[in-house]
């Protein structure tokens, strides 16, 4: 009945995360607060992917484009035109949604791999443009972004931003949950699995795909804005190919269509490199090797639900298995 069921263990994980955040806000180290904030913001983008790809089945790699609009929008409007940061974020959000509307209809007509190709092109093109253009200050990026304030309360205090970031993440998760368990979520799942049948059932496939894209664009734009508001800096590196790929890794590691997956995935991709930093020269290798292990052993992700698990035996190629007497 519900496409976005929350399992008990996921509730436990969510509670644990809430506790960790609270502890960090009250007395955690700067690094811990920084990490948790970044995790929340990336998780928000991954939640948007969970809607776009997890529900509606659209493998779009272009969330970084909307993050970039959110980030650069805030930066340029606030620093170059002196616009209030909150207003700038709102304008950037409107721009992202507008872009999604304009390119959405033609883009979402593309099937499977072609959609992936198109969106990869869009994402990498955005990063290249940000790097090359003087409008975005090229490779130098933009600094000196004013901090967010509400009245007298300034979010310059990292702990306050931590709460803000997790509020965004929490709201996104709520939206994910509400939409997923509604008839809209069902329509998405239907069109993702059998687009042809969905059409004969009267579902306006194009409309629903676009709806998913608009929601995803909005979430990504906000997350992108908040990220830049937090670090007070924006540059093309924030949206380059490694970020594009990392987002997919986060989604995958956490588990598609899992409630807590985006947060777990984001934590993994952000924290593991720090954990293996001790390997120095070999740290990148260690990171990717670990990732490979996850892909091969838990192909549905850590919290994913797969039909058929990832038993190690299935890793063996047929000829090797037969050598060991497995009649496969």
């Amino acid at each position: 009945m519900k496409q976005a069921k929350v399992r008990p263990i996921e509730i436990a994980v969510l509670l644990l995360i809430a506790l960790i955040c609270l502890a960090a806000a009250l007395g955690g180290s700067r690094l811990a607060i920084y990490n948790l904030t970044i995790i929340a913001l990336y998780a928000t983008v991954v939640i948007s992917l969970n809607i776009l790809l997890g529900f509606a089945g659209q493998a779009s790699f272009a969330q970084t484009t909307f993050m970039a609009i959110g980030g650069y929008g805030l930066a340029i409007l606030a620093t170059r035109y002196g616009i209030n940061p909150w207003l700038a974020i709102a304008v950037a959000l409107a721009l992202s949604i507008l872009l999604a509307l304009v390119i959405g209809k033609p883009l979402l007509r593309l099937r499977g791999h072609y959609l992936s190709m198109g969106t990869v092109a869009l994402a990498l093109g955005t990063a290249s443009f940000a790097n090359a253009s003087s409008f975005t200050n090229g490779g130098w990026g933009i600094t000196g972004i004013p901090s967010l304030t509400i009245g007298d309360l300034s979010f310059r205090n990292p702990a306050a931003f931590l709460i803000l970031a997790w509020s965004l993440c929490g709201l996104s998760l709520l939206a994910y949950h509400l939409l997923g368990n509604s008839h809209i979520g069902r329509a998405w799942r239907a069109l993702s699995t059998r687009q042809d049948i969905s059409a004969t059932l009267g579902i306006d496939v194009g409309h629903y795909k676009l709806m998913a894209l608009l929601i995803a664009a909005a979430m990504a734009s906000l997350a992108g804005s908040f990220y830049v508001a937090f670090t007070r800096f924006v540059g093309p590196d924030l949206y380059d190919i490694s970020v594009v790929i990392n987002l997919m890794f986060m989604l995958f590691v956490g588990g598609l269509r899992s409630t807590v997956g985006p947060i777990v995935g984001a934590s993994f991709i952000i924290l593991v490199p720090q954990a293996v930093a001790g390997f120095e020269r070999y740290q990148n290798l260690a990171f990717f090797a670990l990732l490979l292990v996850v892909i091969l052993v838990r192909p549905a992700g850590l919290f994913g639900r797969a039909r058929g698990g990832g038993a190690l035996e299935r890793l063996m190629p047929g000829w090797l298995a037969r050598l060991q007497g497995d009649p496969r």
């Binding site: 072609y114 092109a121 990498l124 290249s128 090359a132 290798l285 091969l296 192909p299 058929g308």
Partner: protein, 291 residues
């Protein structure tokens, strides 16, 4: 001017060979292998290693380099793609697997051979073309000629040998070809190995004219991919057309605008193409691009 043409066509040939790799693998197995460009790096870099650290004569070092690239392709297939394929993992998981593999190759190259770009000796030493005022490194011509010969060879193999027919059958329908006694897994292995070899050869070809380093794989992979789609994803002819076109565009952009804009322009072209004519320039689309 002619130099620009030579560079453009030569790098275009490398893109074309990478694009052929994407197309061949995709049609045989349905997998898009994003580590395709890394084999170019592996081919060039290992050839360099063999030349530098062993007593092998140059031609054998090239062969050894290609062999290493082929081995990488086999490893990718056997230990990553095949297990995921068997479990019918969703396409984007396999894609991620190939990306991770490519990243690992790149890192290994960095660790084993260091960050310095390296080059190789020209295939035909002293071969320089004088045309009018221009002095063009003959290696560029070697690249173009070998690429064209290779593409003809590939075309002949696909068309006239039983192996080629099996691959084409697999590309047409995995289930039907299984009924015909063709093993899709074996075809997958062969196509992954062959395309790795082709890209490895491309690496050995282009390195004498330009440099190679551990991170060129990404660039070739991305541009090769764009070339494949531009020409018509999944077709041999498309790979060649797309590759040469992109090679020329890239070198012109670098010369007259700035090399920073190469990627932007390439992607803009790609987006425009997908909006207007998703089946590519040659229009021979392998499958329906639009739902």
């Amino acid at each position: 001017m002619l130099l620009i043409l030579a560079i453009g066509l030569a790098t275009g040939c490398v893109y074309a060979l990478v694009a052929v790799g994407y197309s061949l693998e995709y049609r045989t197995t349905g997998v898009v292998n994003f580590s395709e460009g890394n084999y170019v790096m592996v081919g060039g870099f290992s050839t360099y290693w063999f030349l530098r650290y062993t007593q092998l004569p140059y031609p054998l070092a090239i062969l050894a380099g290609i062999l290493v690239a082929t081995l990488c392709g086999i490893v990718l297939w056997t230990f990553i793609v095949l297990p995921l394929w068997r479990r019918r993992s969703p396409p984007y998981v396999v894609l991620l697997g190939t990306i991770v593999f490519g990243a690992i190759l790149s890192i290994l190259a960095l660790l084993l051979l260091g960050p310095m770009p390296q080059t190789l000796p020209a295939w035909l030493p002293g071969f320089v073309i004088h045309l009018g005022d221009s002095r063009i490194d003959g290696q560029y011509l070697v690249v173009i000629v070998v690429t064209l010969l290779l593409m003809v060879l590939i075309g002949l193999v696909l068309q006239y040998t039983s192996l080629g027919r099996s691959m084409r059958a697999c590309a047409a329908s995995r289930d039907t070809s299984e009924l015909l006694g063709i093993s899709p897994e074996r075809m997958g292995l062969i196509s992954f190995a062959a395309t790795a070899a082709i890209s490895g050869l491309a690496g050995a070809l282009i390195t004498p004219a330009q440099f190679t380093s551990s991170d060129v794989g990404l660039s070739y992979g991305v541009f090769g991919f764009v070339a494949a789609v531009l020409g018509g994803f999944g077709t041999m002819r498309g790979a060649l057309v797309g590759g040469l076109l992109l090679g020329l565009v890239n070198v012109l952009v670098a010369r007259y605008i700035s090399s920073n804009y190469q990627a932007v322009i390439a992607f803009a072209m790609l987006l425009l193409l997908l909006a207007v004519r998703p089946q590519g320039i040659t229009g021979k689309h392998w499958e329906e691009a639009e739902a």
